[in-house]
């Protein structure tokens, strides 16, 4: 390959490596909070219909 193409290719490699590092250190805090809330709803059974149905039928309480 000619020198210009080689240089461009090297630059692209460096750029993509830097991009990978950027992605790696990024923690999706909002998505993690959403995931946590979904699991907490299910484990503590805070919301009907969140995840699998509870083993015992929910008492049809007045949800006012």
């Amino acid at each position: 390959m000619n020198p210009v193409a080689r240089w461009l290719f090297a630059a692209a490699l460096v750029a993509s490596t830097a991009a990978c590092v950027t992605i790696n250190i990024y923690f999706p805090a909002a998505a993690a909070e959403k995931a946590a809330d979904r699991i907490i709803d299910e484990v503590w059974q805070l919301r009907e219909g969140a995840g699998s149905a509870p083993a015992t039928p929910p008492a049809a309480g007045d949800a006012k």
Binding site: I23, N24, A29, A36, V43, W44, Q45, G51
Partner: protein, 146 residues
Amino acid sequence: MKSASMPSGSWAGRLAALFVGLALAFPVHAQGNLEIDTPAISALRKTMQQRHAQLAPLYASGAVGIAADGTVSLRDAAAVPLAQRAQANAAVAAENADRAALYREIARANGHPEWEAEVRRTFAQRWLERAQPGWWVQQGAAWSRK
């Protein structure tokens, strides 16, 4: 080899394809939901949900509290009748083992095992915030009743 005879124009094409690929890959990584529906995570969610029936009265009595580090803690063993103390201890230990596995599995399922500590921190904060009135929660080192 085929590529050796290619004109340099095809390198520009490859570069363009590389950049387009990167541009497409970025948003996919940067947003959206975390994966929490793998078989391992689903199994943990299910056992934790079932165990909650056993733990809920312990939270309510204050025997077990929601700790600041994303675990639960037997903070007042005296609140549990002696005959049930071993059982309560076992439930707390099993719950904490499942929680540790849950945080690890979520980080792994999303391709970033190194996120485990941050997943744990996020959960710790949400468990505390969503604890029900009357439950004991740990903030910093101090316990307080919600």
